[in-house]
Amino acid sequence: MDFNDSPAEAAFRDEARTWLEANVPTSEELEGLDYIEQAKLWQKRKYDAGWACIRWPKEYGGRGASAIEQVIFNQEENKFDDLPGGVFLIGQGMAAPTLMTWGKEEHMLRYLPKLASGEEIWCQLFSEPAGGSDLAALRTKAEKDGDEWVINGQKIWTSGAHYSDYGILVVRTDPNVPKHKGLSYFFLDMKSPGVEIKPIKQLSGDANFNEVYFTDVRIPDSQRLGEVGQGWQVAITTLMNERASVGGGGGGFGFDEILALARQVNVGDAPAIEDSAVRAKLADWYCKRSGLKYTGYRSMTALSRGEIPGPENSIGKLVGAPMMQDMASFGMDLLEMTGAIWDEAFAPLTGMIQAAYMGSPGMRIAGGTDEIMANIIAERVLGLPQEPRADKGMPFSDVPTGAG
């Protein structure tokens, strides 16, 4: 057990670091570009040098690297602050593995290199307003018309729909069979006629997500992944690859920030960090953060041994999101009467604490609520039985919905 790289890992890390130091875009290069353009510039540069999506086979635009090499590259890349790139996460992290598992060779040759190069951005069209935690209860329907499918319905919580070129989509092709069995999976051109995109304003005031409406949108059958009715299995592939890359945003507020605040603000006549009630809370948060960090190290070790980290990774969000909420709430308490002020000019850490208070409820929901995460741990990690499903085996059209 040690924190050091093996010799081969160290060599790879050196190579990556050397390349990054020479190639990370300068602020001059990025100036005047919007966030998407910045991201595309950096992604293309990585791609051209063989540093994009390095675990992918070379013929699809990757480098054929190992999982641990990917981790090492990410670590090194993350040492540079504020590199643009989050817009590719869904395409590269979720759509691509799904294409690799369920797509035809021609799909892969056509789409994967442009995902790796950043030329095309993808989004995910799964969630629906009435679905929530019950993802498979989706209602957007697709009807066959010759070699095409006609889509009608609505999706929600789609990040980046407005700047995406393609989207992955699950729809109901048969309402008369149990809900998991009547779904099919497609990808579509987001510029297709009949696709309408509306931003969703969150309670934090940000708009990180969209609603997407489909009115007689036509998709060629060749853009189907998996068989008709097999959409749920295909979706599982996508979801298994979902990283806890959750939107809503807490603005980087974490243990270090609450610690800094506790050194800055007084309780009574002394810095809050000397107050034992403050210390007890900080200690608990420190232990949680540390526990998550070293759980991550254990996962990376498993990766480096060729093992695949399992659903136990869902503890990250389950622990981290409510912890951010409580830290933010307590941070405001430490400020006392000024705590609720959310003005960059007056609030410490330029209002980051207040932003975290407003953003953290979203983190507790997006990508699976706390309750769903606890279910996943109970069922998939501990192997406890599912709860009885009222809709089990029932044709989807007969499942109670509470509506009407």
């Binding site: 969630s127 307003p129 929530g132 935690s133 019950d134 209860a137 929600i156 919580w157 969703i200 304003k201 969150q202 309670l203 005031g205 809503g248 800055q264 603000v265 007084n266 309780v267 009574g268 006549d269 809050a272 009630a277 909420q325 709430s329 307590f330 405001m332 308490d333 430490l334 400020l335 006392e336 009467m337 000024t338 705590g339 609720a340 002020i341 959310w342 003005d343 007056f346 207040q354 208070y357 407003m358 409820p361 979203g362 929901i365 997006a366 609520t369 706390d370 309750e371 606890a374 279910n375 709860e387 499903r389 009222a390 809709d391 029932m394 499942v399 109670p400 919905t401 509470g402 509506a403």
Partner: protein, 370 residues
Amino acid sequence: MNFEFSEEQNLLREQTRGFLAEHCPMSRVRSILEADDKHDTELWGKIAEMGWTATVIPEEYGGLGLSYLELVVIAEELGRAVAPVPFSSSVYLATEALLAAGNEQQKESWLDKLATGEVIGTFALSEAHGQPTADNLTATVDDGKLSGTKIPVADAQAADIAVIAAKSGTDVGLYLVELDQAGVTREDVRTLDFTRGHARVSFDAANAEALDGGASDWGVIERLLDRAAVLYAWEQVGGAEAALEQAKEYAMGRYAFGRPIASYQAIKHKLAQMYVNNTLARSNCYWGAAALNSGSGELTQAAATCRVSATQAYYYAAKENIQTHGGMGYTWEFDCQFFYRRAKLLSVNIGSERHWQDRLITAVVNSKAA
């Protein structure tokens, strides 16, 4: 023993609730949230017409001369409605400061106008991050002129007068300041809760008049905050209760996996926990109300107890109400956000949970020592 509201008080509650349902529905709160307004001036006018601002002011000063039991009923309902009005600043703080520490002439000058709502008051203590103390106050009054900066001052933009904690030499006291004068500058500061205006108020040799001839010391400020804590706690309990009701209603109507999410233990036990918190907080608020109303020596202990439990109950109910709603609860469109914002605003407005926990134990230890 009679540990319940009277029939008349319950009738007042029904009227108050009905009035607010009509004049302060959530859509009204939203319109203030989305506008640049600092409060709902129309609603304020109607509230004043109803006489709520006059509740505990004695009849001789133009008030209704009712008891604090009537006032807590109104406070709870304002909390339920997340009403965007400067009621707490004007009634729980400014009016109370005058009642407690104003001299006869000061009471005569201001109480009747506060009673009719034509004058709005506020209270200003905090100057910087962290808990204000007698030692760290820096605003000073010299020869009737106040200088210094207060931040945040709740409802300062709406207020005509403010009661200010300041020092004359080393003596802390309360001073009355008219805000519409040359030496006073109000700058907006945005808080989490856009439905309530807050400001940084700077005083540059502004005219200020000592309350009670300067006899109002730090102890007077603490007692003022104790009294306000009971009234705040009732608002908080009202908000917590409304958040629970909203969560319950949504959970009953929202289906997942073929049944209402309210039938899942994860949700059931969450709502049960809200109920437990709210019930304990409410019962403590009864104690606070009784102590406030009777002028009991237990006031500090009762006030800190109901303040701490109401603060905890509202935070839990507000955040778990959003959680119960899932993604929809996190949208701007849904009303869950009002409780979440207001819960935090109220919880720091007169000192945090941490502060009141500490004050509670001081009071408990003193009472046991006695």
